[in-house]
């Protein structure tokens, strides 16, 4: 069944179009920055982008920062929201279950296809933006500051902080990719759960996005500080800490933990609902 789901994912034009769009946006940004050489001042604009001008190998991290707030969660929510609801609305759900595919198995296969999609999306963005970065910005050594800010070291300006070897940049980028993939899986789990509730893929995807927007609003709200550590988007940006020296594990660990709980809870809810549901679509 897993193979069948992967084939379905691969043969769906939408999967590739969404990944192409995800890769396209950072390229667009890179072209603008490279042509004009106007980078956002440090601390403004997309995280890390200001450091990119002098070192292209940091661009994957900047690219992930560009797609993370909206593009990536939208793509993931659409794919996950379609997982069960899409089968229901196309009428294939009943035929799959009557084949028979056990419900738990179907859900597991959908989840695995979703994980593959998320990893594929995040890794493809990282790889294409790495190539773009090397091509457009060159590759000078990178320096990290103790304070957590990142400055590009070139001969003229920065000498503060420790220089990063390319291997270090790679490892840190992989860490960031893993963290973002897990965060996206949290979104996916919410959308997958909603997908078992409704027969409308659009409804499930929008529901998951609504949850994220709510979370973002509450994270920004001081009055909601009490609940903020438990919100799904609270630690989304913690992957930036992979690029600090030394790596600040506190928020990264918490981010992994929070997303892990969201994934587990919503998958369990999805399973409980789907396994006991009357299929009337």
């Amino acid at each position: 069944m897993i193979r069948v789901e992967l084939v379905k994912l691969a043969r769906r034009p939408r999967s590739w179009v969404s990944i192409a769009l995800l890769c396209g946006l950072p390229v667009l940004v890179a072209v603008f920055v490279a042509v004009t050489h106007i980078a956002p001042a440090p601390g403004q604009g997309p995280t890390l982008l200001s450091a990119v001008l002098s070192n292209g190998s940091l661009f994957p991290a900047a690219a992930l920062a560009i797609v993370l707030p909206i593009f990536l969660p939208v793509a993931v929510a659409v794919v996950a929201g379609d997982a069960v609801a899409g089968e229901a609305s196309s009428g294939m759900l009943r035929y799959l279950l009557a084949r028979p595919v056990r419900r738990t198995r179907l859900l597991a296969a959908k989840l695995i296809a979703l994980i593959v999609y998320v990893l594929l999306a995040v890794v493809t963005v990282a790889v294409t933006s790495y190539l773009t970065g090397r091509l457009l910005f060159g590759n000078r050594p990178v320096a990290l500051t103790q304070s957590g800010g990142i400055t590009a070291s070139n001969v003229a300006t920065s000498l503060s902080g420790t220089a990063m070897t390319p291997a270090e940049v790679l490892i840190r980028t992989l860490g960031a990719v893993a963290f973002i993939a897990v965060s996206m899986l949290g979104v996916g789990a919410i959308a997958l759960f909603l997908s078992t509730i409704t027969d409308s893929s659009l409804g499930a995807a929008l529901g998951a996005l609504a949850a994220l927007v709510t979370s973002e609003v509450l994270v920004a709200l001081n009055a909601a500080a009490a609940v903020s550590p438990y919100l799904p988007t609270r630690y989304w940006l913690a992957w930036v800490d992979f690029f600090r020296q030394p790596i600040l594990w506190r928020n990264i660990d918490r981010g992994f933990a929070v997303q892990g709980v969201y994934v587990l809870v919503f998958l369990a809810a999805a399973w409980a609902n789907f396994a006991s549901k009357d299929i009337t679509s």
Binding site: M1, R3, V4, V7, K8, R11, R12, P13, S90, G91, M92, R94, Y95, L96, L97, A98, R99, P100, V101, R102, R105, S276, D278, I279, T280
Partner: protein, 307 residues
């Protein structure tokens, strides 16, 4: 093959299926009839473990459902309501996915032959690679049928399999089903095309408002009523001759209370009357079903809700 007892399903406040005792025997061609919204599809879905019964028991192929549904379903081919497919893929690609799915998946070896065989069976042998969304309704129906036949099932559960087919296609499907049945496949055909059922089925069950109101052999239901229908140009004289036995008359058509068409015929001919048609009266399935069911739930009569 299929036995249900007191099968009941409640959706919220609506009682969709109410104490149905279905009995489909091995080798039957069972016609499952009922108006729209009478609970046919819900029963079919419960048989396939898609919808869970509120109460009552189901046994399919001798095994309890949904308890051992995973052992039962591999022996069943089904077409539920409308055929479905992934519209952006070709018919062959759809069958490949279906064949590869599930715990009883066919192996990769022989998949191509299996798919070619079922496509030939349903008359799609020469199908090209165009996407299913470009298929006509009849072609989709054939594709759905092909998917149901993929595993050479012992039991076929088909909901409106001739929907969207032209008369030629309907006949082909009927012949295919009869052929499969004579090779040992039990067929449960749910339909509201009564003529279709009349021509194919050996046994019928009629459901109305969630209750099974009739279940019997078709031959039994259609046995002669003990009256004779005849048509004669000399209707007046025939009516006079058969006086006392004429149960009804419409112009040149007489209904005679007599079980023997031959005897009535020879009596009329002996009296020098011409007879253009004579036969034993049989109830049509249509009359029978309509007398039992009334209109379906898609018709909403009665008092307009007050505002």
């Amino acid at each position: 093959m299929i036995v249900t007892s007191a099968l009941t399903k409640r959706f919220g406040r609506i009682l969709a299926v109410d104490g149905v005792d279905l009995d489909v025997r091995e080798g039957d061609r069972y016609g499952f009839l009922g108006p729209n919204g009478s609970g046919k599809t819900t029963v079919v879905r419960m048989l396939l473990g898609l919808v869970y019964a509120t109460s009552g028991k189901i046994e399919v192929l001798g095994q309890p459902v949904p308890g051992r549904i995973a052992h039962v379903l591999p022996e069943i081919g089904s077409l539920i309501e409308a055929p479905s497919a992934y519209g952006h893929l070709s018919g062959r690609a759809n069958l490949t996915l279906i064949d590869a799915a599930g715990s009883a998946a066919g192996g990769r070896r022989g998949r191509r032959q299996r798919i070619d065989a079922v496509l030939d069976r349903v008359g799609l042998g020469g199908i090209d690679n165009r996407a299913v969304k470009k298929y006509s309704l009849g072609m989709r129906q054939r594709l759905g049928l092909a998917a149901a036949l993929l595993r050479s099932p012992r039991l076929l559960i088909l909901d409106e399999p001739t929907n969207g087919l032209d008369p030629q296609g309907i006949r082909e499907v009927r012949e295919l089903l009869a052929e499969l049945n004579s090779a040992g496949t039990t067929v449960l055909l749910s339909s509201h095309q009564l003529a279709e059922v009349e021509q194919l089925c050996t046994r019928v069950g009629v459901i109305n408002r969630g209750r099974l109101v009739l279940q019997d052999d078709l031959a039994e239901l259609r046995r002669p009523t003990g009256r004779v229908v005849l048509r004669t140009p000399d209707a007046d004289r025939a009516a006079a001759l058969l006086d006392g036995r004429v149960a009804g008359r419409e112009q040149d058509r007489l209904i005679v209370a007599d079980a023997e068409p031959a005897a009535v015929n020879s009596q009329l001919v002996a009296a020098g009357l011409r007879v253009s048609e004579v036969s034993a009266e049989r109830r049509s399935l249509e009359d029978l079903v309509l007398s039992l069911t009334g209109s379906g739930s898609d018709r909403v009569d009665g008092q307009r809700p007050s505002r």
